[in-house]
């Protein structure tokens, strides 16, 4: 069997399993999740041993220390995967919820019922824990999962998959519901993305390159975010102490993630008062400052922001600063250069806040809080399978509900249409 045939076979198996899994009772799915968690813990040494192969290969390939650290599994990190699976098991099962009941004059009763999507493919290149997280979220929401991880973690991912799959087999859940694509060839991704007859949704997770590749080649609906170019606008009506704390947190607390601040907009009226101490505080934490002309008149040693800077997601300790004329200018800038992810205003004026919240076309818009809260956990939605900057199906953090669709069940007593 060649690679195409193997992938087609897996997709067909996943679809057949999805139809079964949609009917499995919540308690049975939770039992399977607990079995997965237990198996992962009891076979942690196997997983860590396999992971070591990836770490050695990454070292030889000259991967940088931060990336090797993200790849590495130890007992503590396996424990955290185990806890993640158990946390998903403890969440409310979304399937079967009655979302709406419509009663028609002719006596028809129409019920809108939450159901699983079917088959979800996740294509990722991040840490090995994604394998466990996605397997758990898909199972809980009644979806068959097809997982395709990156080459750099192939031994780790394969080991985790094997352990989880063996646990499924013992838990009376259709084993076809968990599939893992062993090929590390990018052609395997292209192949997968053609199978719209069997796969209902694709979620790419990783760098912008991978995500653009998936979006351009997929015939299957994709939920994605390319990047997070998050802005904070400090109004002339801001509490500047709050503004400083919020901006500092959003830039520095964890600069490598998609909800970190990448651009700071400051009202012209407060720029001279606000910028010097803010920039000093950020620089002390190692942040490089780039600015537009007006910023550089105040922070004379700031780098010069290029046209590309306004679009760029640094994922590191760089911040580009612009002085703007007011809230509308801030809104327009964000809608032009932003990534529709998370943007904030700091202001004490509720009317101005409203203009910002309504005007900025992003998944999450904040007043007087750090953009770093865009996260399924921080929102209280439970674990997330990804974040969407699209506007279709799901926007912002995507948790269990984002992994469901609905169907209409219509109850009649012989009604016909006239």
């Amino acid at each position: 069997m060649n690679m195409e045939q193997a992938i087609l076979k897996q997709a067909k198996e996943a679809k057949a399993a999805a139809l079964q899994l949609a009917l499995v009772a919540p308690a049975q799915k939770d039992k399977a999740l607990k079995a997965m968690a237990a198996a992962l813990w009891s076979r942690r040494n196997f997983v860590i041993r396999e992971n070591a192969k990836d770490v050695v290969a990454a070292s030889k390939a000259g991967m940088d220390d931060a990336m090797i650290d993200r790849l590495t599994l130890d007992e503590k990190r396996v424990k955290s995967m185990v806890d993640g699976i158990l946390a998903v098991a403890a969440q409310k099962d979304p399937v079967g919820e009655r979302l709406q009941t419509l009663r028609r004059p002719n006596g028809l009763r129409i019920e809108k019922i939450r159901v699983p999507i079917g088959v979800v493919a996740v294509i990722y290149e991040s840490r090995p824990n994604v394998t466990a997280d996605c397997a758990a979220l898909c199972l809980k929401s009644g979806n068959a999962a097809i997982l395709k991880g990156g080459k750099e973690a192939i031994h780790s991912n394969t080991a985790i998959y094997k352990v989880l799959k063996s646990a499924l087999a013992g838990a009376k859940v259709p084993v076809g519901a968990l599939q893992f694509i062993g090929s590390t060839d990018r052609a395997a991704v292209t192949e997968l993305l053609k199978l719209d007859q069997y796969i209902d949704l694709v979620i790419p997770r990783g760098g912008e390159g991978l995500i653009r590749f998936v979006a351009e080649h997929s015939r299957i609906p994709v939920v994605k975010h390319y990047k997070g170019v998050c802005h904070i606008y400090v109004s002339d009506k801001a509490d500047l102490k709050k503004a400083s704390d919020i901006c500092f947190n959003a830039k520095v607390q964890r600069p490598g993630v998609c909800n970190a601040m990448e651009k700071m907009l400051v009202h012209a009226r407060v720029a001279k008062k606000f910028l010097p101490s803010m920039v000093a505080r950020l620089r002390e934490a190692g942040v490089e400052i780039r600015g537009d002309e007006a910023t550089r008149r105040i922070i004379t040693d700031a780098g010069k922001a290029t046209a590309e800077d306004w679009y760029e997601e640094y994922l590191g300790l760089i911040l580009t600063v612009k002085v703007v004329a007011g809230v509308q200018a801030a809104v327009d800038h964000i809608n032009t250069y932003g990534s529709r992810h998370s943007d904030a205003i700091v202001t004490q004026d509720t009317k101005e806040a409203d203009v910002f919240l309504k005007g900025v076309d992003s998944a999450c818009v904040y007043v007087n809080a750090s953009t770093r809260f865009t996260d399924g956990g921080a929102f209280g939605l439970g674990a997330e399978i990804g974040i969407s900057t699209d506007k279709l199906h799901v926007r912002g953090p995507m948790g269990l509900e984002g992994l469901t669709s609905y169907k209409y069940q219509i109850y009649g007593s012989g009604q016909v249409r006239s």
Copy 2:
């Protein structure tokens, strides 16, 4: 300006207008809709005169009578478009609805608010009334619309568009929110489908060929249904009188639409009793019967169903009949050959009905009613812009709510992430 540049310009205008339109008050949008309706009625002679050009061209091109009839506009049909626009104006405005409020322990208040999607492109090849319907639904839901109709109705569509656009200009609604692609070249569709930076959603309406073309070429999310291969399963526990009326209605009342029955499945135990009279009744209405082996042992002069028949949407007076062993066989057949649109069971047994409703993986599943009710109007959801057999974003009839997304508005008082 060449065609590509013209389309890009229109898409950019639509996006800019969408950001404005999202903020327009409900009353202002309704005023614009009423102005559109009034303009269409007062300029009906112009529209009918332009339509005559399409009708003449269609005649010359040898288009069949049914299609020419669908293309033709008279005063009554313009009136019906006008009424359609007014009905949309009278619906509840979906924008701004608070869908959920999450209060976090740190004091953050997270509000999930319904917002327009942004820019919606509709690519269609059906009757000219689609131009008016889609323009009205998009405006009501706060979306900019880019309309691209078929060559056969180009004069009619252009005339309707001009009249509607002029009405917008007088109603203080951003005129860029309504765009019409004048080119009848299919390359214009390909061009449009690349513009994911400006367009948020594409809705193709027309034959399966058009829809597949759009789905394969689009970088923009697509909501679609390829076809409606609707089944009715007559159980051995059915009230056979009801079954006959339901099947007759679903096949004969309007055979050319996507929610008409195309396949009838009958339990082996009642086939001999049910089929002869049912087939006689259908044949009297002009229906051609094709059957599997078991059916043809009962209806000896039925045509032989080929392998392709089970997948085919006839959109006409043909019905393919299969004898099955029970509800699970019916469910399996539908999930294999169906189109995930609308399927029904006729049974007096509620447990059996439940197996069918849960097991059939379609947008709308019925017990004891005709599949013909799958329709925004019949569901009480108001006018529909299309029907989706996808499972993402919207499934089944797509009305105003289907034309919305949501955003999270987060209210803080200085919260930062620790």
